[in-house]
Homo-oligomer: 289 residues x 6
Amino acid sequence: MADPAETPSYKYFNLTYPIPYVAQIEIHRPEKLNAFIEPMWHELSTLFTTLSTSTTTRCIILTGSGPRAFTTGLDTTTASTSSSSPLSPTHFPPSTDPARRAASIRTHILSFQSCISSIASCAKPVVAAIHGFCYGLGIDIATCADLRFCSADASFSVKEVDIGIAADVGTLTRLGKVVGQASWVKDVCLSGRVFGGEEAGRVGFCGWVGGEGREGVLGEALRWAGVVVGKSPVAVQGTKEILDWSRDRSVEDGLRYTAVWNSAMIQTNDVPQAIQAGLKKRTPTFEKL
Amino acid sequence: MADPAETPSYKYFNLTYPIPYVAQIEIHRPEKLNAFIEPMWHELSTLFTTLSTSTTTRCIILTGSGPRAFTTGLDTTTASTSSSSPLSPTHFPPSTDPARRAASIRTHILSFQSCISSIASCAKPVVAAIHGFCYGLGIDIATCADLRFCSADASFSVKEVDIGIAADVGTLTRLGKVVGQASWVKDVCLSGRVFGGEEAGRVGFCGWVGGEGREGVLGEALRWAGVVVGKSPVAVQGTKEILDWSRDRSVEDGLRYTAVWNSAMIQTNDVPQAIQAGLKKRTPTFEKL
Amino acid sequence: MADPAETPSYKYFNLTYPIPYVAQIEIHRPEKLNAFIEPMWHELSTLFTTLSTSTTTRCIILTGSGPRAFTTGLDTTTASTSSSSPLSPTHFPPSTDPARRAASIRTHILSFQSCISSIASCAKPVVAAIHGFCYGLGIDIATCADLRFCSADASFSVKEVDIGIAADVGTLTRLGKVVGQASWVKDVCLSGRVFGGEEAGRVGFCGWVGGEGREGVLGEALRWAGVVVGKSPVAVQGTKEILDWSRDRSVEDGLRYTAVWNSAMIQTNDVPQAIQAGLKKRTPTFEKL
Amino acid sequence: MADPAETPSYKYFNLTYPIPYVAQIEIHRPEKLNAFIEPMWHELSTLFTTLSTSTTTRCIILTGSGPRAFTTGLDTTTASTSSSSPLSPTHFPPSTDPARRAASIRTHILSFQSCISSIASCAKPVVAAIHGFCYGLGIDIATCADLRFCSADASFSVKEVDIGIAADVGTLTRLGKVVGQASWVKDVCLSGRVFGGEEAGRVGFCGWVGGEGREGVLGEALRWAGVVVGKSPVAVQGTKEILDWSRDRSVEDGLRYTAVWNSAMIQTNDVPQAIQAGLKKRTPTFEKL
Amino acid sequence: MADPAETPSYKYFNLTYPIPYVAQIEIHRPEKLNAFIEPMWHELSTLFTTLSTSTTTRCIILTGSGPRAFTTGLDTTTASTSSSSPLSPTHFPPSTDPARRAASIRTHILSFQSCISSIASCAKPVVAAIHGFCYGLGIDIATCADLRFCSADASFSVKEVDIGIAADVGTLTRLGKVVGQASWVKDVCLSGRVFGGEEAGRVGFCGWVGGEGREGVLGEALRWAGVVVGKSPVAVQGTKEILDWSRDRSVEDGLRYTAVWNSAMIQTNDVPQAIQAGLKKRTPTFEKL
Amino acid sequence: MADPAETPSYKYFNLTYPIPYVAQIEIHRPEKLNAFIEPMWHELSTLFTTLSTSTTTRCIILTGSGPRAFTTGLDTTTASTSSSSPLSPTHFPPSTDPARRAASIRTHILSFQSCISSIASCAKPVVAAIHGFCYGLGIDIATCADLRFCSADASFSVKEVDIGIAADVGTLTRLGKVVGQASWVKDVCLSGRVFGGEEAGRVGFCGWVGGEGREGVLGEALRWAGVVVGKSPVAVQGTKEILDWSRDRSVEDGLRYTAVWNSAMIQTNDVPQAIQAGLKKRTPTFEKL
C-alpha cells in the first residue's frame, strides 16, 4: 500500500498498519510519558485529517508508546515556562490589557480545541487503546475517540482542576455525552480524583477492560478493528456519521438526516455484495471508499 | 370491552387483552421467525395509531410469537428480490438517474421510519418483551419502546452493517438516547456483534433481564403492566409525554412545557381520587381517558 | 467567618459550616419526615441564591434532619387541604373558568420550579447526601444536585404518579439527563415503584452508596467536599458551569462557550499558584471568589 | 395526463391543471365565502399529500373560488354549534373532567395542525394566490405556502383573538418566521386588526401585490408557476427542502444537511442537460421526478 | 381599582392608568434625560414583575418623561465614576485577579440582563412609545417590548460601541430577532450611527411612526392599547406567549407547545362569550385573569 | 505596516489598504467577469483566515475588479468540463458506485462550503461592495458578508436552479437569515429570476444602495469602514461575534454567552479611553488587537 498517509513523516507519532486497513497511531514521546507540547497537537491534527480521507485506512487505533502511559496530558512544565503558552507568566508583556489577553487566549484555545477535535471529526472509527496514565489532555483525547478500551492497570484523572483551570479542550463538553451518569461525571471532573480501569469499565467510559498493560489492550483493539475493516466501508462510515449527528440533535432531526444520507448510500454495490456473501457464507470484499 | 382496537383484523399481529387495559401485541409470522416484510410495518403502524387513542388500552406489551425469536428483523431474502424494495436490484429501471433513485429511496425510508416511529409516538407506555433473536429491525423497534425487558436467552445484533448499510429506521438515532454509554453503542453498531441478555441488562439497554424464554419475560412484562394500568391514566400518559419531550430539549424547555401541560392536567378528578384512596388505603379507580 | 449567609435565620433549614467553606444545609422539619410545605421551597430558594454568591462557601451539602428521611416530598395532606395549593379542591371558587384555573396553576408551577431550580443554578457544587426516604419532591431536589450520595438504607420513589399527576418540578425533565438508561428511567417514573440505595448506585443515579444511615453518607459527603474546597474556586466553579452548559447543547456550542469562559479565567493567579504548589508538593491556598 | 391526482374526487376543492405540471387548487365552498368545516381540512390534507408525490405536478397554486374571498377562515357558526367541535358547548358531557377535556382538545388540535401542515410539508412549491377576505384560518394556510401573492383588494386579519383564542393552527408559530418584523407581527396578532394588500406587500408577508381581484393575482401566480415548472424538478424540490430545513436550524446544521442532500442530487442527468441547454440557448426538458 | 400595582411607590417611574386596564409607565428622571442609574433597573424589574400578574393590568405602555427623550441610556458619567459599577476604574482593588474581576463582572451583567429582561417576560403586551433620544440601553429596553411605536423626531443609536464595549444587556441578541434585515442590524450595531424615526419604521424596527413628539406617539399607543384591552385576556396573553416561544424554536416545537397551551385555554368562557358578542354585534366583557 | 497579510502573494485577489486598517480585497479575474475556478476559493479562504488574525486589519471590503461584475459566480464552463469538478461527466470513472460518488461529492461540497464560510467566520466586519453581476456563487459569498452595499446597476440571481442544482455553498441556508421575508426568499431561490439593486435594497438584502457603478458603491463602503476602524476593536469584534452567535440560538443562550464574553472584554483599557475621549470630545486611539 503506497498511501501517502503511511509515509513515516511524523515526529511525535508512529503510524503503522499492523493489519491491512487498520492504522495504528502511537503517541511517541516516551521519555516524557507521552506528555504533549504544542507541536504535537498540530501534528496530531494533520495526521487525523489525512487519515480521514485515506482510502487505505478504514479503522484507527490510538495508543501510547512505552509501558507506562497512554499520555500524562499536557506537559505542564513546558507550558508554564515556555513563552508561547498562555499558561506561562511571560507569555504577555506585563502591560497587556486583560481584554486583549483574553482575545489572544481565546484564539489559542479555539485552535487547540480544533486540533484535538480532528480525532472526533475523522470519518473512520477511532479506538483509543489506553494503558497506564491517562491524565488531563489524555481524557480530552479519549473522549474524542469512538471507543475506549483500557487495560486493568490504566489510571485516569480529569487533572485540570489541579492546575487551577476548567478543562477546556473538550472533556467537560464531551464526557457527559459519552458517559450517562451525571453524578459520576461531576465527581471526577470536580475532584480530579484518580480512577482505575475497572471503574472506567463499570460506568461505561471504557467499553472493554482487560488484558495485561499495553500489549493486552492493544491486542483486543486490533481484534476489534480487524472485524470492522471487513465490513462495507460505506456502511461503517455512514454508521459513525449518523450516530454522531444524532447525539447532538432531536430524534426528528436524526431520522431526517439519516433518510437523506442513505438515499445515496443504499445505492452502493456493497449491499448486493454483502447480501450475496451472507447467503453463500462467503467473506465479501468491498471496494475502497 | 367492545373497543374496535380489539377486533382481530390484523394479518401479521395478534392483539389480545390478557389483563383489562393491557394490550398484548404479538408479531406473528412464526414460520419466518417473525421477520418483517413491507405489509407488516404498515399494519404495525395502523395498530399502534389505533391503540394510541383507544380508551380501553392503557399499556401495551410487544412480543414475538413462537419460542425462538422476537423478530430476526427485515426479511432480507424478500427485500433483496422483491421489486418493491429499493434493496432489490430490479427495483429501478437500469436507466434511472442516481438523483431520481435517491429521491425515491428517501421517500421510501421516510415512510418506513414513520411506520416504526408510530410505536414511539403512541400515547401509552409500550414494553418490548424480548426473547430469542432480536436482530436488525428488531433493535429499531425495541428502541422505540419505552421499556425493554428480555429473557436471559435473548440475543441481539445491530445487524444492518452486515448487509452493507447504516441502520436507517431509528437504531442509530435512538440507541444513544436510550443507552448512555457511547463506547458500547459505537461498538455494537459498528461491529454488528451479537450480545446477549445479560449484557443488555448490564449496560441498561434492557431494564429487566430474567425468566425462562418467552413466557418468563412476558410474565414480568404483564406484572409491570398490571401495576401501571392501576394508576391514573392522566398521570401515566403525561409522564410519558414529558419524559419524551424533555429527552430532546434543554432543561429550560422541558420545565416550561411541563408547566403548561400540567396547568390543565392537574385539574383532573384523578388527583383527589388518588389522594383519598391513598389516605384510606383503598385501590382507586379512574375514568377512561 | 462573618458571612451573612451563615446567620441562622432560616426556619425550616439549618445552615452550618462543619468544615471551612463547606456549607451543610439540613432540611429541618423532622416531625413530618422533612415533608415540604410552601414556605419551605421559598426559603430553600433564598438560601441557595444567597450561598451562590457567598465568598465563604465553596461547596454545599444537602441533607435531611432526623434518622428516617432525606424528605418524604410534598406534604400531600397539607397540599390537598390548604386553600393556597392548587391541589386542594377549595383553591378555586367553583365557578372559575378552566382556562383561568390553568393560568393560575401554571404560574404556581413555574414559581415552584424556579424555587427548586435554584439548587441547580447555584454556582457552587451541591452534594445531596441521602438517607432513608427520598420520595416525590425529594427526587426533584436530588436531580438538581450535582452529585448524589446515599446510604444503603435509602429508599426512593418517583411518587407523583400515585397522586394522579405527572411530576412537574423537574424530575421528568432532569432524571433522563442524570441517568442514561431510558428503560430504567421510564420504569421508575411510570410505576412509581420504590427502589433502594444499591439500585440507585448500580444505574448511576447515586455516585456513591454506602455508610450507615445519615451519619455514614454525610461522612463521605464531607470527605468529598473537603477535597473540593481545597481546589481553586475559579477552576471548580468554571467546571460546574461548563458541564451544565454542555449537557443541554451540541459539542460545537459547548466548545465555543468554554473557550470564551476560559479566555478570562485562565488569567487567574490560581494557575501559577496551583502549578507551583504541585511542583513543590505544597498545599496551595486560593483567594476568595 | 392520467395521474390519479387529477381525478376530480374532491368535494370541497377543485383541482385543475391550467398549465402542464401546474396544479391549481380552488377552495370551493363559495356560498360560505370558502369558510372551513372539518371535512375540508381532512380533504385538504389528502390532496396535498397526494400531490406531494404526483410526478405530473411540479408546482401548486392555491386560490379561493368566487370573487369575494380566498377564505374567511373557520366557519365559526358551525364550529360553535356542531357537537363535533371542541368550540361547541355541547361537545363534552357537562361532567367531563377538565383534564380529560384537555386531552381530547389537544388531540383535536394536533390533528387539525397536521392537516394544515400538509401544505408546508408538500415537496412541491406552493403559491397562495389571495384575493378578498383572508381571515383567521386563511392566515394559518397562507403561512404554510412558500409564496404569497395577493391582489390589491385583499384584506387580512389574524382573527382568532376576536373569538377568545390564541391562533393554534400555525399562524403564531409561522408568521414570525415568514415576516421578519416582530413589532408588526405582534401588532396584527394581538389586535386582530384588518390589513390590506398594500401593507401585506410592504412588510413582506406577500411577495407580490397587484392585479385586479382573483383573476389578476391568479394570472401572476400562473406566470410564476410556469417559469418554475420549466426548471429541473430535482433542483426545485431540493431548493425548497433545504430552505425549509435551514429556517429552523443553525447555519452549521443547514450546511451539513445541504452537503448530504446534494451528494446524491448532483448526480442527476438534469445538470448536464441544463448546462448544455444554457450554452445552446435551448429550453431543456427534464424527466419526471 | 385598588390593585397594589398602582400604589405610586416607585421613585424613578410614574405608573398611571389613563384607560382602565392600560398601565402607562413613565421613565422619570427628566433632569438627566431619563438616563439610567443602577437603582432604576432594579425598580423597573420590580414594576414589570408586579404588573405581569396584576389582574387589573392588561396592556402596558412604556414612555419617557419630558419632551426630549425616551432615555439616553446608561448614565455613563455615573457608571464611570461610581465604585459600584464595573465600568469605574475604582470598582476593583488594583490587585484583583483578572479572573476574579471577570467572575464579578459576569454576575453583574447577568443581574442587569435579568432586570431588563423582566420587560420581555412580562405576561402582558408591552408597547414602547418612543420620542426623542433612544440611545444605548434605550435600544436594549425597546427590543424587549412587544411593539415599538415612535414619533418622527425620535433618534436612535446602538451607542455602546462608542464607549468601547459590545452591548451586553440584550440589543445584540434581540435586535436581529425583531428586525429581519441582517445588513442593517450589523450596520447600526457596528457603526453606532444615529438613525431616525422614519428609518426605524422603514426597516420594521418600529411598527408605527408618526405624531408630534411624545404626545403624538403616546396617543397612538393608547389607542392601540385601548383596542387590545377589549379582547379576551386569555387570548391576548396566550398569543404573546406562543409568539415568543415560537420565535426561538422550530416550527415543530412551536406547534406542539401551542396544542398543549390551548388544550386548557380553549375551555374558557371567553370563547362562547366572544362568539356570542360577535354574532350579536355587542361588545363582550371578559372576566379578570 | 509590515503585516504579512499585505504581502501581495495572491494570484486571483488584490489586497490593498486604501485607508489604515481597512483591507480592500478585489476578486481579480476580470477577463472572465471574476468567475470562480477551484483555486480561487482556496485562495479566498487563505486570505480571510489570515486577515482574521491580522492586527493591522480592522475592517474588510470585498469588491470585484473591472466595471462589469462583482462576480458571475462559478465558472460553469470550466466546472462542467474539468475532470476535477464533480459537475463534469468525466469526473468519475463510469463504473463508480453511486454511493462512492456521493461520498466523494459530499467531501467536495463540505470543503467548498468551508472555504466560502471563511468569510463569515472572519473576526473582522466584512462589507461586500457589489456592482454589476452578482450571480450564483456571488450570492453565496454576499450572504457571508456582514453588510452588503450595492450600486443601483447591480443585478443579482440565485442562479443555481438554472443548472439543475440546489445552491449548496450557503445561499439556501443563509439567505433566509439575512432577509426576513420568506416569500421573497423562496421566489428568488426557486425561480432564479434576476433582481436589481433597488429591489435588493427594498427587501433589506443590501443595506445601502446607490452610487455610480463600482466606484460609487466602493466609496460608500470605504466611508463606512473608515468610521468603524476608528472604534475600539475590542468592541467592534465583540459586537460581530455576539450578533452571529445570537442569530442561531435562543435569546436565553445569547444573553448568557454575551455575559461571559464581556466579563473579560469590559476590562479593556479601551473603555476608559473611549469614555474620556467622549467627555473631552477627542478622537480616541486604540491599541492593536
